[in-house]
């Protein structure tokens, strides 16, 4: 009997095509929007987490007047003998505004002794690694493109420091690493120091690697004791930063979408709860030919379930396709931000069965429950009264 009711429900939906499409379309759009925001946020958070292990356990900055400033590299001597500290590395990096781009690039002095990078190990799109002291640089592939440079070309970056030297582009980062390297210019530490105008013996910050990362809290406290006024950033805090950062953005986008989603749901509710004259007559005839109230109730509920299931499936598919197949046009700038050197690398989905099921149940459950009242009203209507009206 349930199979026949299902067939009847489908036929009823087909007879009221416009109403079914309005209802299902509105719901599918709302599901797609919410799902896309969730997919994108989770994906960004996961991308940010992926490189976290390469981050130093502790970063030490110097504050003057509450703002970060350069730190004497000699301060490393005060940190080297702290128990559990394995390596203390002063780092040279900073930002340069490029008028040609109307944007900032991140200039990074390559740390000495870092593992070599090449096309073969998947880091570089083209070219080779830096040769120390040769005034060379590696840039993001988009950045090089924006600057109209190919490997072998030379560029003098703007700097007030007379030590700054024109640098030769010897390689570009692979575009799949764009999320981390889109705005990066990697060069020799001396070149970076000259470009950024950092005095000899100063560093942007000091990276501390620990033998046992679990002791970061204790080591951080010791560093603060030895370098009063320093700002000590532990790697564990990064997770919190990412959650706050992307969670806030997702909240803003969803918050801005609430009126649109509510309007759609109100419209859908209005369409679902209103029983038209044709529908009333149809129910009356069904009851007159022997359908019980339960049968009519089931048929009406099945109509809602069919619309809800199809709309939820369509919404999930649209949301996923929007973010991961099309690159989230329209949504990505709102959620991710924007800049001249915008990373174009595609995002990796982190959604699993549980999350997708969660979204489905969260949408389909309330939708079907809300359909019970109009279904009950339609099912209990007096057939004679309905036919007369």
């Amino acid at each position: 009997m349930k199979g026949s009711l299902l067939a009847h429900a489908l036929g009823a939906l087909a007879r009221r095509k416009a109403r079914s499409i309005a209802l299902g379309g509105g719901l599918a759009f709302a599901v797609a929007l919410v799902a896309a925001v969730l997919f994108l946020t989770e994906s960004l958070r996961a991308e940010a987490e992926r490189a976290r292990d390469a981050h130093p356990d502790i970063v030490v900055q110097k504050l003057v007047g509450g703002r970060p400033t350069t730190i004497p590299a000699s301060e490393r001597a005060k940190l080297g003998d702290i128990p559990s500290v394995r390596e203390v590395t002063p780092r040279v990096w900073g930002y340069i505004f490029l008028p040609a781009l109307q944007g900032n690039v991140t200039v990074v002095g390559a740390p000495r002794g870092a593992a070599p990078i090449s096309v073969a190990n998947g880091v570089l799109h083209s070219g080779r690694d830096l040769s120390p002291g040769a005034h060379e640089m590696i840039a993001g592939v988009d950045l090089a493109h924006f600057l109209g440079m190919l490997p072998g070309d030379e560029l003098g970056l703007p700097s007030a420091d007379p030590r700054a030297h024109a640098m030769k582009l010897v390689g570009t980062f692979k575009s799949s690493l764009d999320l981390w390297t889109a705005d990066v210019i990697l060069c020799d530490e001396d070149d970076a120091r000259a470009l950024l105008g950092l005095p000899e013996g100063d560093a942007t910050d000091i990276a501390v690697t620990l033998a046992n990362p679990a002791e970061a809290r204790v080591v951080a406290a010791t560093i603060v004791e030895r370098l009063p006024g320093a700002r000590v950033i532990e790697r564990d805090l990064l997770e919190r930063v990412y959650h706050l950062s992307y969670g806030r953005r997702a909240g803003l986008v969803l918050g801005a979408s609430i009126p649109a989603i509510l309007a759609l749901l109100v419209l859908a509710w209005d369409r679902a709860s209103g029983v038209g004259g044709d529908e009333r007559r149809e129910i009356a005839i069904l009851k007159a030919v022997g359908w019980s109230t339960g049968d009519v109730l089931w048929a009406k509920l099945l109509e809602s379930i069919l619309v809800g299931a199809l709309a939820t499936a369509l919404g999930l598919l649209l949301g996923y396709a929007w973010v991961f197949w099309l690159g989230a046009p329209g949504l990505r700038p709102a959620l991710v931000g924007w800049s001249v050197l915008y990373p174009r690398a595609s995002l990796t989905p982190v959604v699993d069965v549980a999350q997708l099921l969660g979204v489905t149940v969260a949408v389909l459950g309330p939708f079907v429950l809300l359909s019970v009242v109009p279904a009950w009203r339609a099912a209990t209507a007096d057939p004679l009264e309905s036919m007369r009206s």
């Binding site: 981050h55 970063v59 990074v108 981390w180 931000g337």
Partner: protein, 117 residues
């Protein structure tokens, strides 16, 4: 459309969410696997970068490396956008600040006027 066909289509529609969840899970899994193949390259390049933060806000230098920069930066992704600090603009300044500002905006008192409360 006969009853059996309608029933089959109806069942397919009911199963649509499960079908879509299955397809999306398989696609997500294959994309994750492809991404995992790039992990060694990412580890190599990340070791040379100052931070693992994503290069999403290159235009706003205070946010390029959100985990290392000053938390109370002037701008987030652009002018007039909320501050990255979670306490940002959602929290009102202390009442005293308002009262002082109100005092300043009052016309100057003349000699003999009663003090205003």
């Amino acid at each position: 459309m006969n009853d059996a066909r309608a029933r089959a289509i109806g069942l397919m529609l009911l199963a649509a969410p499960a079908l879509v969840i299955g397809v999306l899970t398989v696609d997500a899994r294959s994309r994750r696997a492809a991404r995992r193949a790039e992990e060694p390259a990412l580890a190599l390049v990340a070791a040379r970068l100052p931070t693992s933060d994503l290069a999403l806000s290159g235009g706003a230098r205070w946010l390029r490396a959100a985990s290392l920069e000053e938390p109370g930066a002037a701008f987030a992704d652009g002018p007039a956008l909320p501050d990255p600090d979670p306490a940002g603009g959602a929290m009102a300044p202390p009442v005293e600040v308002w009262s002082v500002a109100a005092e300043r905006s009052l016309p100057p008192r003349r000699e003999g006027d009663a003090p205003k409360r």
